[in-house]
């Protein structure tokens, strides 16, 4: 039986966190800071998705930005050509990105570790360059323009167009991140999550325990892709335009660095790592030139000194006392 005391304290912690997050724009309505946080939370979404693939299942993926791009372009194209509103467009963006994750995985996963990383890198670049070159469809290097912002009907206020205000996007991303994080925690503690960890630890042994390794790896790719798709749709709706340059190899590496910093496999770590690294570009405003230098150095040092990241290493998700899932 779930330990009720633990569930109660968990509920309280979550409620406090939720209230704090929701109250922030009211207490400190600085749009610039909210924007930074929103960007960092978008990164958190991406980190959560990649965490499923790399952190839990152990599949080296260097082309994650491609799924972000696919989600963004899917919503963008649906909106620009078919007038599809944001709330209807998120689902197809997510589904298409997820399916692409699976489709890319089918050939790629037959290849061994190091090469898999390079293949995913190759795919990522091919997707980006293809989006750049298919000018008639995607607007080429200048990107897709004129994408609608989300519009929400609020009781008493009529239709609110998110426009370029910061607060609505902040709330949107908060809710999205919370939901996705919740699902990820549940997945992590479930039969599927255990199987993913088993695959990461020892594929052969996992297979002999009845775990269908290839199917689950594809499932991880699909889920990771779908999450990136959601982030992509939100990103496209927020920016109003989508340019292929936003989805380069450096983005893929940054998200990877976030989950490594947070600790591979840890949901908490993914969010914390993303918030830390995601707000860094803004914090280092004056030092833009040195950004990659410091970033590279940080990666080297981290692997040398604390490879398990902040919350990584031992993940005791099943113990005698732990209750299952969230709530």
């Amino acid at each position: 039986m779930p330990d009720l005391a633990h569930v109660r304290s968990q509920t309280i912690r979550w409620s406090i966190g939720a209230l704090a997050a929701l109250a922030l724009p009211l207490i400190n309505p600085n749009p610039y800071q909210l924007d930074v946080l929103t960007t960092a939370l978008l990164y958190a979404l991406l980190a959560l998705g990649l965490n499923l693939i790399v952190g839990l299942t152990g599949v080296l993926h260097l082309g994650y930005a491609a799924f972000f791009a696919i989600g963004a372009y899917t919503y963008g194209l649906l909106n620009v050509h078919l007038g599809c509103p944001f709330w209807l467009g998120v689902a197809p963006a997510s589904v298409v990105a997820g399916l692409c994750g699976i489709a890319l995985g089918i050939p790629a996963l037959r290849v061994r570790g190091d090469y898999l990383a390079i293949v995913t890198l190759g795919f990522g670049e091919i997707v980006r360059i293809t989006f750049t070159n298919l000018e008639a469809w995607t607007g080429g290097p200048n990107g897709l323009l004129g994408i609608d912002h989300p519009r929400l009907w609020l009781p008493g206020q009529g239709i609110l167009d998110f426009g370029v205000a910061s607060a609505p996007y902040y709330y949107l991303v908060c809710v999205a991140t919370a939901l996705v994080a919740g699902v990820c925690v549940r997945l992590s503690r479930s039969r599927i999550g255990r199987a993913w960890r088993a695959i990461r630890e020892d594929e052969v042994a996992a297979s002999c325990m009845g775990i269908p390794v290839l199917h689950l790896k594809l499932l991880a790719q699909g889920c990771g892709g779908a999450i990136a798709g959601i982030a992509g749709a939100i990103f496209a709706a927020k920016q109003g335009t989508v340019t292929p340059d936003s989805f380069d190899f450096i983005l893929s590496v940054m998200v990877l660095a976030m989950i490594v910093l947070g600790g591979l496999g840890s949901v908490r770590g993914a969010v914390v790592g993303a918030l830390a690294l995601g707000s860094l570009p803004e914090l280092l405003r004056g030092f833009e030139q040195y950004r990659m230098l410091l970033f590279g150095l940080a990666m080297i040092l981290m692997m040398r000194l604390r490879p398990q990241g902040l919350f990584g290493g031992f993940q005791g998700t099943i113990t005698k006392q732990k209750p299952f899932g969230i709530f």
């Binding site: 790399v54 080296l60 050939p107 790629a108 037959r110 290849v111 061994r112 570790g113 190091d114 090469y115 990383a117 390079i118 293949v119 190759g122 795919f123 670049e125 091919i126 360059i129 293809t130 070159n133 190899f249 590496v253 990877l256 660095a257 490594v260 591979l264 030139q289 040195y290 950004r291 990659m292 230098l293 970033f295 590279g296 150095l297 940080a298 990666m299 080297i300 981290m302 692997m303 040398r304 490879p307």
Partner: protein, 300 residues
């Protein structure tokens, strides 16, 4: 120009490119051979070589070209050798026993670090690479061959022959081959594996350095970002020939250069880079052992 002449011309161009790719590919293949690491930063080492050569060319621009070029080569090789050795000693050696993802991240981090360092030192814009070689050209049956191309072919060819001799006929070469086959056994037999690995890095980096100098000569401009793209193409060449296989890297480089040279005549430049990535992906998916077969240690 007749189609045959066009073909031969592209062939000549492709061979030039191929020599450059081969030199860089050798570094990838040798390093992968000894420590099973895809040295992401190798493309950046190549750039260091190009910029080091550029520095000498600018400093000693009045010297005669046949003295200037060897000086450039020496400077580039020294710079890259140092960078390569430092990379191995401080970033890669400490994590040799760690899981693959760690090594990969370290290599990527090293790549970013070097790329940014070059940018800070030399600026983010394209730099002109002056060509000290006199513009002598010969017309052979309608196909133009420049002195520079000949220099590149001869340099590339002699370096590769030298390497092959080193690896096959010297004690050092034998130790390198043995270490690539079974590191632990070599260590147990008293072979100084750390020194061998460091030497491998230095040699690989020196080769990339020469590649960098030739690259600068051939294209006339260099940019700190070139390392990434050229690096990936050279890696493709290494895999094409069979990773870990030294003659393979030479063959792979030349083949890739030829493909790109021929393709440039018939494909638009926009799709050229996609072409390289597509070749890489198809290779890894369907023939990862490459043309001549890979030579990697057994990881039981």
């Amino acid at each position: 120009m007749t189609p045959l002449q066009l073909f031969l011309q592209q062939l000549a161009n492709g061979l030039t490119l191929g020599a450059i790719y081969a030199l860089i590919a050798l570094g990838y293949t040798m390093i992968y051979g000894v420590i099973q690491l895809i040295n992401f930063a190798h493309g950046e080492v190549f750039m260091v070589g190009a910029y080091a050569a550029l520095t000498i060319v600018l400093l000693a621009s009045s010297a005669p070209w046949w003295a200037l070029l060897p000086a450039c080569a020496l400077a580039a090789m020294t710079a890259c050798g140092v960078v390569g050795a430092a990379m191995e000693r401080f970033a890669y050696r400490p994590i040799r026993q760690a899981p693959r993802l760690n090594a990969l991240i370290t290599a990527i981090g090293m790549s970013f670090f070097l790329q940014n360092a070059i940018m800070l030192l030399y600026g983010a814009t394209d730099r002109q690479f002056p060509n000290p070689i006199p513009p002598v050209r010969w017309d052979i049956g309608g196909v133009t061959v420049t002195l520079m191309q000949v220099v590149i072919w001869l340099t590339g060819g002699s370096v590769m022959i030298g390497l092959q001799l080193l690896v096959m006929s010297t004690r050092l070469g034998m130790a390198m081959r043995a270490t690539a086959q079974d590191l632990r056994a070599c260590a147990l037999l008293g072979i100084p594996v750390n020194r061998i690995i460091a030497t491998t890095f230095m040699i690989g980096s020196a080769l990339a350095a020469i590649g960098g100098m030739l690259f600068g000569l051939h294209y006339g401009t260099i940019n700190f970002h070139d390392g990434y793209l050229v690096g990936l193409k050279a890696f493709t060449a290494a895999v094409l020939g069979g990773i870990g296989n030294i003659p393979g890297a030479m063959v792979g480089g030349v083949v890739l250069g030829l493909l790109e040279g021929l393709g440039a005549g018939y494909l638009s430049s926009q799709w050229k880079n996609v072409f390289a990535f597509v070749v890489l992906v198809i290779l890894l998916l369907f023939k990862p052992t490459g043309l001549l077969g890979e030579r990697v240690a057994d990881r039981a």
